[in-house]
Symmetry: C2
DNA sequence: TTGTAATATCGCTTTGCGCTATGAAACTGG
DNA sequence: CCAGTTTCATAGCGCAAAGCGATATTACAA
């Protein structure tokens, strides 16, 4: 025999409020309604839930015990409502974010940290990948959003791309590197130094090739390759090697790590860091929250970078 | 917004069983029924509970979270059903038993212990009182049953009395008391000894008076009075004092305490130990269980006492 | 006893669950 | 890639029960 959970919740309200009328009021129902519900419940279990002939309705032993269980049910139900509410507002849920390694480590991760400090109940699963993997992840539902640098013409038709930041690359070196004291850097100045390269299959590696080609350096010596941003930063600061990194990554890294960008214009791929997602699918509200958050954070970052570059340019 | 607990339980079943069809089967409902329930729930919360376009229906993050809560609700509900079932069979509940002190301590308590070892979830509240208090307790619902010695003509019309045991009293003394070695005891043999009396307001005290009067002893010296059975037993075994006790109490006490009943016929009040309860009120099933249990236990006890007395009579 | 407050009952409408039958969509194995 | 199979959704219909206001009944209090 299955009892109606709703009935048990009503019973709990009556017992807690000390009377049927008050219970009905607390539940937002009419008095006859709850009276009949209790009559039904009593009829089904075939045992009295209330002492007979007592006016401020008092539960029997059985009634009180069932009321305790009803109360438990009520709490679980309320928690469910709350969960839905928070989920609706993007304050709860799980978010699967994939992205290109350097940008995720150098730019996005710290912003996600900030986001999570405001939305404690949003669980974020971060993963790394390049365009193909990320696309696949988005399409098969393994990812909610992807964050990566992309050329506007590169966006697949079934996906939607929201730009966040300019994606221009710079040549980076440790602070205090000999080249930072050199005025009017040319290819000749750079030629002696070894290079740190990202994994050979990454877009950033192709950027590196292209950048060096754009300044006339066809072949280059790779000193270290394949590491994540943390490794690159370590090697960079511990040696005189050079590398190509997005300017935003260098900019943010400088807060804690002694890096500099060489004032040497290099060709870059007209890509922008942005958020890629499936266009028609309805996304969890937390995704919208994160998207909006990253957008404003990146706007602020862009403004700071622009400001900084103007000063550097005036000084340099 | 209030969610339907039933819907959450259904969701839990679907998630646990790994599919809507299996979930429906587990719930004993038809597949279309649970499908529509889920559609309703989804429509109410306005967010998807299942990944779209997946055939073995897979929950979204929100769906999985709600399913966990639904499972909690289901457990509470099942527990409620179980409670009702056990309560129906008299295996659970609270039982308020009142009774006259000597019989409760000397006869009923040990039987209740045995009852509880078989019905672990029946909680018993025992209290003491005489007829008037017990009647009041039964009528105002403070007691479920009362156990006391009563004359058949004494039973109030709105109450019902079930006899358990003969209520005849005997004169009791310690084992090895000088009188136990005396043949053909008369009033003269008894006269020198002091008496232990129950509280002066108790029926047993009036029994004592009446008993002694019936054997011709009009005035008697009271050595000790007012104690419960345990005190009486202690004083009795530690002195040569005499007292009047129900034979059943002496019989059962002998298992652990060196007492004896003097082979002297005394008048007794034609009362019987029995169970008194309100006649029209529907009692908790556990009461019926206890009533039945006490009835058979007392029958066995009566048989043992009869047997024992035959032997004693043959010997004496 | 009488007035008051609490509960039960009545009549009615609406909601939603139960079922069967059937359509649509996704998976599976060649 | 194509049929067959499985899985889920929808439609239509009857019924149980929740909702309400109005009203009768009953316990408590003064």
């Amino acid at each position: 025999m299955k009892l109606d959970s709703e009935h048990l919740e009503i019973l709990a309200a009556i017992v807690e409020q000390g009377g049927l009328t008050e219970g009905a009021e607390a539940l937002g129902k009419s008095q006859p309604s709850v009276s009949r519900s209790m009559a039904l419940l009593e009829a089904r279990i075939g045992l009295p839930l209330f002492e007979p002939g007592r006016r401020p309705l008092r539960p029997t032993e059985l009634g009180a015990s069932l009321a305790r269980l009803g109360s438990r049910i009520h709490r679980a139900n309320k928690e469910a409502s709350l969960l839905v509410q928070r989920y609706r507002q993007g304050l709860a849920g799980r978010l699967r974010v994939g992205g290109s390694p350097i940008f995720m480590d150098g730019v996005v991760a710290s912003m996600i940290a900030e986001f999570q400090s405001r939305h404690a109940d949003v669980q974020i699963d971060q993963s790394y990948g390049y365009l193909n993997q990320l696309e696949a992840g988005l399409r098969n539902g393994g990812l909610d959003v992807a964050i990566l640098p992309l050329h506007p013409g590169q966006v697949p038709p079934d996906l939607e791309f929201t730009p966040l930041l300019g994606g221009n690359n710079v040549i980076a070196c440790r602070a205090g590197h000999p080249l930072t004291r050199t005025r009017g850097i040319t290819l000749n100045h750079i030629a002696p130094y070894a290079w740190i390269a990202p994994p050979a299959d990454s877009p950033l590696y192709r950027d590196l090739q292209r950048s060096l080609k754009s300044i006339g350096q066809e072949d280059f010596r790779v000193n270290f390759s394949g590491g994540t941003l943390a490794s690159i930063q370590s090697v960079l600061t511990g040696s005189d090697a050079l590398t190509v990194l997005p300017y935003s990554v260098v900019f943010l890294s400088r807060r804690t790590i002694p890096l500099e960008a060489l004032p040497l214009k290099i060709d870059h791929a007209e890509r922008q860091l942005g958020i890629l997602r499936v266009s028609d699918r309805q996304l969890p509200p937390a995704v919208r929250q994160l998207t909006g958050f990253l957008l404003t954070e990146c706007q602020r970052l862009q403004a700071r970078m622009d400001h900084d570059q103007q000063i550097t340019r005036r000084r340099g």
